[in-house]
């Protein structure tokens, strides 16, 4: 593992980016190390960029750790460049950030000055000429060659014919130089946040009836869905806000298990939700505005019917189940509707998980039972298993008689044991009791799933339990 970034203190004691972590630990006993998470870093930079929108509408990311702001024409709002910089510094300091900044005539120049300037200079032009050639950000080999040739600063290069430089270091190097010097434009790629989909409608005359409002909502949903379609997205979360003319507003939200662009579905869910409201929507003196927002979008490709037709049925069935789940969840609450999912373990009661249907990952196939074999697990398991009294052969023979819920059962037929050992890694002593499962049938033909909890060499007197009943 290598160091991705160091703080000022660590740098002070000689730790460097790229150093193996082991070497760093060998040098400094007490290191605080955080795993490098480029996604989080990017996220943070994004948020800073968002915040900087207050200074300029043109904010560009200079990943992984820089922002470029085009402040031409906006600085006067802060009382000049210096004041603006001070404001940025103050706000970032509050966030625990240190700022290294520069102002320049072009984006490239400002960027290079911020990142490479080591010596102060009387003016911007001088400052740029004093930058090291590394500021051109050529390949390492070319930078080394420039330095080895004795050309160490941008000024050294600028004083030599551009053609000679291009002949040796390529047109890109010459271009980079011209950009830094301001002889060539350096375009800025501003960062634009994708606004969520919003559709609203205002009314000159407030709407007095709820059905009418619902109709308008349907139109808004249509509009929003059209926009979603253009973007190749589907909505997971829809929120309708009804603004009343007296100033009050009421929001109603629905969620779907999968991204959708189906107006019918969305409207059905809204209808479900409105029906189930304890406190129904009340127009009062009428709504003067209705807004539909889709705050949560996910990618959704266009669905296509198969050429031969009809074959999308299976998918339709899945969709129908999804829709049902969405409707039930809308009505009952999202935690109430669950979907079973197989879990990969030998422990019977942990072999399936019940996850909220809305959030469940795509279903996994269930293991197919072996052909010709009887069911080895009952449909329903007792949770927890219920203790029973058993007369059985020691050490690992089948039960002969057992008593469950005060009723005696004589075992006529049995199969087993199926031995399932404990998951030792869950226990501190790396142990745990082994279970011996038996499928048994009593005199009346009823089938039970019993187990002895523990082998005789694990526990002196292991208990028996019933874990389920076969149909």
């Amino acid at each position: 593992m290598r160091i991705a970034s160091v703080g000022a203190k660590a740098e002070g004691v000689g730790l460097r980016v790229g150093m193996p972590l082991a070497d760093a630990r060998a040098q400094i006993g007490e290191l605080s190390v955080v795993p490098f998470d480029p996604v989080l870093d990017q996220d943070w930079l994004d948020r800073l960029a968002q915040g900087c929108a207050r200074y300029s509408p043109l904010v560009a990311l200079d990943a992984p750790d820089g922002l470029i702001l085009d402040i031409a024409g906006t600085e006067h709002l802060y009382g000049g460049e210096a004041e603006l910089v001070r404001d940025v510094e103050m706000r970032l300091a509050r966030l625990g950030m240190t700022l290294r900044h520069a102002l320049g005539p072009t984006a490239d120049a400002a960027r290079a000055l911020a990142r490479y300037q080591t010596r102060p200079a009387p003016d911007e032009g001088q400052a740029i000429r004093r930058l090291p050639v590394a500021a051109l950000e050529l390949e390492a080999e070319a930078t080394t060659a420039l330095v080895r040739a004795g050309l160490k600063t941008i000024g050294d290069l600028a004083s030599r014919p551009m053609a000679n430089i291009a002949a040796r270091f390529g047109a890109d190097a010459a271009m980079a130089l011209r950009r830094l010097l301001g002889d060539a434009p350096s375009p800025l790629a501003p960062r634009i946040a994708l606004p969520p989909v919003v559709a609203d409608r205002r009314f000159a005359e407030p709407l007095g009836s709820t059905p009418h409002a619902t109709k308008v909502l349907a139109e808004l949903v249509d509009e929003a869905i059209e926009e979603l379609g253009e973007r190749g997205k589907g909505g997971r979360h829809f929120r309708a806000t009804f603004f009343r003319s007296d100033g009050l507003a009421r929001s109603i939200a629905i969620e779907t298990g999968h991204p959708t662009r189906d107006t019918g579905l969305v409207m059905r869910l809204f209808a479900e939700r409105m029906d189930s409201l304890a406190d129904p929507l009340d127009p009062g003196f009428g709504f003067d505005m209705i807004r539909l927002a889709v705050p949560r979008l996910e990618a959704l490709g266009a669905s296509q019917l198969k050429l031969e037709g009809g074959a999308v049925r299976a998918a339709n069935e899945v969709a129908a189940i999804d829709e049902l789940a969405d409707r039930l969840a809308t009505r009952l609450g999202r935690g109430r509707v669950r979907r079973l999912r197989p879990a990969d373990t030998h422990i019977p009661e942990q072999a399936q998980l019940a996850l909220p249907a809305a959030d469940a990952p795509p279903p996994l196939p269930w293991p197919a039972p072996e052909a010709g074999e009887p069911a080895t697990r009952p449909f329903h398991l007792f949770d927890p298993p219920q203790p029973i009294e058993v007369i059985a052969e020691v050490p690992d023979g089948p039960p002969h008689h057992f008593r469950w819920r005060r009723q005696a059962h004589a075992v006529r037929r049995y199969e087993g044991p199926e031995r399932i050992a404990a998951e030792w890694w869950r226990r501190r002593d790396n142990g745990g009791l082994t279970r011996d499962y038996y499928r048994v049938e009593d005199a009346q033909g009823r089938r039970f799933w019993l187990f002895r909890h523990g082998l005789y060499d694990e526990k002196p007197d292991p208990r028996w339990y019933i874990h389920g009943v076969f149909a």
Binding site: G14, A26, T144, R148, A149, F169, H346, E415
Partner: protein
């Protein structure tokens, strides 16, 4: 056939951890458990392999000696579990005879050679083609398969029945019984064991998770539902199979069918080396006799005749004639090449006059009296051990000769069993237990120190982990369990097994990772245990260096030398040089510790070199034998021999310790000591030797402690002396040095010293051309050469070759011209292009590019390395020109041989400051002839009162000084009480010693400095060895950066530096290292 379950039971389907990542128990553990459970026998069958069977067999043999009454009647049968690629269920196969064994190994070889390394691709058809004399146990209930097998092997097929506890056992068993009745194949009860005891289930889950690349938490049903696949006692099996008692009886029946024992594997060395018309022994006799007469003249002295006669008799009686002739054949081949490949034998053979006369070794036993004839002693029923070192660059020729001469059917390299290494084990077990990477990395990465056979709890604490945390405890436990396990097989560095018959009928053969290499499944311990013989074809860098030196000497009329006996080892000037500690580059004695020892030991004769080589080793140091030896040799202390109390003869140790002034230094002495002074039988002494030699069994040596110390004290020796002797033997365990080895090495020490002394330019050139080898980086070697008055010339396009070369100076002496190989990143073919095109001097970069057809990268490297000065271009202008030359020449200009590029105005580049030249030299060639970086800092340091190395050397003993320099070596040897640092400046080196108690404080500075300042007291020993006992270390690396370089100045540290090049003790490498990484000549860690 009685119905009584007491008839016994043998588990016949048992895998060991040689079924890599599938079995969890060691073969010996399996056998031990089977014995403990009272089984009649056990069958070891690993997955498409017989790699583990010898371990099981050797263990049983050992038990038969140790506890005959317990293992009486216990049978071990060996075979393999055949796993097919075509979907056929696994079949376990056991050979009933030697012939059957050959069929099995050929079958496995077929599958192995069909696959890439480490795999075995078998199909049912292969088995049917090789199934003579094999007993087969089918594991799947497939009727068609059973009928096919039955047809092929009639009464020798069984069907395995297990109680897997999967719920439907009873039904399945009835189904199998029906199948058995229908096909006439009897059912055999088995546990299909993957481990010895049920307690090993967690370990098995771990290795399953490692195999599947998952964690135990996520593995789910990849893990077994229960821990039933362990060995069970006959009574337990009888209980489980009480409804099918016949299945139990079948196991003993099967056992009774097998006559084969690994003991039956006898093999013969190839007969090729004997010319037609000769019988082997008379031929060997003839060779030895003619050589003896040539060497010692006729008639032979009686002593020679007696020695030769004794050895030849022993060789004949033991049947080693072909073996000696085979080794002779290899050596003869190497010498017959043009130019000859230098080689030299070592190992116990170095004591043998026959080996000497055959030219295998170059130490004359008549001249250099050896202590004991360890070579093939009568009590050791073990094959002789001959290792031959060849030049490291040309060993491959010898290997290919072996393959050509004996064919791949009859020659292959032995295996090395790669065991789990602590670091990777921590990572893998940690991963399997679901630890995050940073925790395991924290634990696994420590820069110094190493791990032995276990992970001590201190390491956990050092890594900042709480050893009492349940998870960490678990990690610690499983790492400990897995550490003893084999991980995979790889090829040995050079141990060849050759046979007269087909090798693949002796042992399965695998494809090695290297192309054109095959290796067998057994490693050197297995080969030893079975009494097979191997010859070690090893590679030694110093031989390459010496050969290159001899070549250079021939080319420059400095005499025609070979490694044979023509250099007498008695030139006082050579010893004079060594006595000064002037030994950089010299074989074996160039390390810091050896250099410090040389002025104390003051070698004067050849035997002193033998001692010198052997004394700076863990054995003598841990046994505290070094200082007594030095004192006695320098006559500061009377030579006394430890004496036993009467009635034992008081001078019984004179013979043993006479040559080393009463101090045991060599491995043989320690052994002999055990026999004479502690009443060891020859067999016990041999066991002790084996325990010393087998690093794997560090534990076993403990068994001898009581006996040795007790025995010596009982005989009247002092407790203290006995304990020191034993300590030393323990030290030999980590790296023992027998006298015979030391003799062979001492010769190379002498030869390399001789060249260094008389022809320093030749020596520097030879050693630079043999890099990488030895302790020192090229910068130090070049510096050393210049200190010895050699003129060293820079790399230049008009004068250099790929290799470093020698040029005549005006005064007739030789100068060293650095070659293009010193330029980082330069390629040999570019060098050849330059040399080919150099009919007339090159005048410009463009001309060089055109005539030599060099790519622009080559030109840039040359320019950056400042190799264009003869064209009147120093570094900057050359580089400026080189960058302008474009790849490829336009044909028109090429045809006209004119320059393509038009004239350009002068770029007016600023001149290069000297400091930048020096730093860039280091960056491009790792050395500078123009100066040393420290020279540019000297003024600043002088102002601070920091002394140069020369001033430190002149300082008074006991004065407190400060010095600074570039870090060359950092070592923390032995128990880690002290850290040794070597600093270099423009005038020399300073050796710093830092006690461990100061280390923690200056840890960062020690580990990270490239430029270090040390403050401390100058200590000068009476031999003139100077150390600075540091009390303060400061990292001054920042000073280097002020020199104004474009890149970090990062000088090469020596290969001995343990921070940049972590070293592991000998045992570590032997146990854990990949064989390709194992140094063929093991380097000692440095000891003082």
């Amino acid at each position: 056939m009685s119905e009584d379950p007491e008839t016994g039971f043998a588990e016949l389907v048992a895998a060991t951890n040689y079924s890599f990542l599938r079995g969890a128990s060691h073969p010996a553990e399996m056998v031990a458990e089977a014995i403990a459970l009272g089984m009649t026998g056990i069958g070891i069958a690993d997955r498409n392999s017989v790699a583990g069977v010898v371990r099981a067999w050797a263990f049983l043999k050992e038990q038969q000696v140790k506890r005959p009454e317990v293992v009486e009647g216990f049978r071990l049968v060996v075979g393999a579990r055949l796993v097919f690629a075509d979907g056929t269920p696994d079949i376990v196969a056991y050979p009933v005879s030697r012939h059957g064994w050959g069929r099995l190994t050929r079958l496995l070889s077929t599958g192995n050679l069909r696959a890439q390394k480490g795999d075995c691709i078998l199909e049912l058809q292969d088995l049917l083609g090789h199934c003579d004399d094999l007993l087969l146990i089918a594991t799947g209930g497939d009727e068609a398969l059973l009928r096919t097998l039955k047809q092929a092997r009639r009464k020798s097929v069984w069907l395995a029945a297990t109680m897997s506890r999967s719920g439907a056992d009873a039904r399945r068993l009835i189904e199998l019984e029906r199948l058995s009745a229908a096909t006439g194949v009897p059912l055999l009860a088995t546990s299909d064991a993957l481990y010895a005891r049920i307690a090993q289930r967690p370990l098995h889950d771990i290795i399953t998770s490692i195999r599947e690349g998952t964690t135990v938490q996520k593995a789910g049903k990849l893990l077994r539902a229960n821990g039933e696949r362990h060995l069970r006692s006959p009574a337990e099996m009888a209980r489980l199979f009480k409804n099918h008692p016949k299945t139990i009886e079948q196991s003993t029946k099967l056992l009774a069918c097998i006559q084969f024992d690994l003991e039956d594997l006898r093999y013969e060395y190839p007969h090729e080396p004997v010319p037609p018309g000769w019988k082997p022994f008379p031929y060997l006799h003839h060779l030895v006799k003619t050589a003896a007469e040539r060497r010692y003249g006729t008639p032979l002295q009686p002593k020679v005749r007696r020695l030769v006669g004794n050895e030849l008799r022993l060789i004949r009686r033991r049947g080693y004639v072909y073996y000696f002739l085979t080794v002779y054949d290899l050596v003869r081949f190497a010498r017959a090449q043009d130019p000859p490949i230098l080689c030299q034998g070592r190992g116990s053979a170095a004591n043998s006059i026959v080996c000497f006369l055959l030219g295998v070794t170059s130490v004359d036993p008549m001249k250099h009296d050896l202590l004991f004839s360890r070579f093939v002693s009568a009590e050791r029923d073990e094959p002789p051990d001959i290792d031959v070192d060849f030049e490291h660059e040309r060993r491959e020729e010898v290997i290919q000769y072996i393959y050509d001469r004996y064919t791949r059917d009859r020659a292959a390299i032995a295996a090395t069993v790669i065991h789990y290494r602590p670091r990777s084990t921590i990572r893998e077990v940690g991963k399997a237990l679901g630890f995050s990477e940073d925790v395991t990395a924290r634990l696994a990465d420590t820069s110094w120190g190493s791990w032995g056979d276990e992970v001590p709890v201190e390491r956990l604490i050092e890594a900042g982990l709480n050893p009492h945390n349940g998870e960490i405890e678990r990690l610690h436990r499983f790492v400990g369990e897995l550490l003893k396990a084999p991980r995979h097989l790889s090829q040995h560095v050079g141990g060849f097994v050759l046979t007269e018959g087909r090798l693949d009928e002796l042992v399965p053969i695998h494809n090695a990772a290297m192309e054109d290499r095959t290796f067998i499944e057994w490693d050197k311990d297995d080969i030893n245990a079975l009494g097979l013989m191997k010859v070690d074809v090893l590679a030694l860098g110093m031989l390459t260096c010496i050969r290159k030196c001899f070549d250079l000497m021939r080319a420059h009329d400095l005499g025609n030398h070979t490694l044979e006996v023509d250099i007498d080892c008695d030139d006082p000037e050579v010893y004079g040089m060594l006595q000064k500690g002037d030994s950089i580059g010299v074989f074996q004695v160039e390390s810091r510790a050896q250099i410090n020892m040389l002025p104390r030991l003051r070698p004067e004769v050849f035997y002193d070199l033998v001692v010198q080589v052997a004394i700076v080793r863990p054995g003598p140091i841990e046994g505290d034998m070094v200082h007594p030896y030095l004192r006695r040799r320098n006559k500061e202390e009377p030579v006394e021999f430890p004496e036993p109390s009467p009635p034992h003869p008081p001078d019984e140790l004179h013979d043993v310790l006479g040559k080393t002034f009463g101090v045991p230094l060599f491995q043989e002495q320690a052994m002999k000591l055990a026999m004479v002074a502690a009443d060891f039988t020859p067999e016990e002494a041999n066991g002790l030797r084996r325990a010393m030699a087998t690093f794997r069994n560090v534990g076993t040596i403990e068994n001898f402690r009581e006996k040795m110390i007790g025995g010596m004290v009982a005989r009247g020796y002092k407790q203290d002396f006995a304990e020191r002797c034993f300590k030393q033997i323990e030290g030999f365990g980590s790296y023992g040095f027998p006298e015979s080895h030391a003799q062979s090495f001492a010769r190379l020490v002498y030869v390399s010293s001789w060249i260094k002394h008389y022809h320093p330019a030749v020596f520097a050139c030879g050693i630079l051309n043999s890099q990488p080898m030895g302790f020192y980086a090229p910068a130090q070697l070049v510096r050393d050469a210049r200190e010895h008055g050699v003129e060293v010339r820079e790399v230049d396009v008009n004068d250099s070759h790929w290799d470093n070369s020698l040029e005549r100076r005006a005064d007739g002496s030789l100068a060293l011209r650095l070659g293009f190989r010193q330029v980082d990143g330069f390629r040999e073919e570019w060098a050849a292009q330059i040399v080919d095109a150099r009919s007339a001097p090159f005048a410009s970069v463009e001309e060089l590019a055109r005539r030599a057809g060099l790519p622009s990268r080559a030109l840039r490297l040359l320019a950056e390395a400042d190799a264009c000065r003869s064209m009147g271009l120093e570094r900057r202008p050359a580089l400026w020109d080189a960058r302008r030359v474009r790849q490829g020449v336009l044909p028109l200009f090429g045809a006209a041989e004119t320059d393509e590029l038009g004239a350009e105005e002068d770029a007016g580049l600023p001149p290069t400051p000297m400091v930048e030249h020096v730093l860039t030299d280091y960056q491009t060639t790792r050395l500078s002839l123009k100066g040393h970086p420290m020279a540019f800092l000297r003024r600043d340091f002088a102002r601070e009162g920091v002394l140069s190395a020369a001033e430190v050397a002149a300082a008074k003993n006991g004065s407190i000084v400060r010095t600074a320099g570039v870090v060359l070596i950092r070592q923390r040897p032995g128990k880690g009480n002290a850290i040794f640092i070597t600093l270099e400046d423009e005038g020399g080196v300073v050796n710093i010693l830092l006690w461990a108690r100061h280390f923690e404080r200056y840890r960062r500075a020690v580990m990270a400095s490239r430029l270090m300042l040390a403050e401390g007291e100058v200590q000068r020993s009476k031999e003139g060895v100077i150390h600075l006992m540091a009390t303060r270390i400061v990292d001054r690396t920042a000073m280097l950066d002020t020199l104004g370089s474009d890149r970090r100045f990062d000088p090469d540290v020596c290969r001995a530096d343990e921070v940049r090049h972590p070293q592991h003790p000998r045992g570590y490498a032997a146990k854990h290292g990949h064989p390709r990484d194992v140094r063929i000549l093991p380097k000692s860690r440095d000891f003082h």
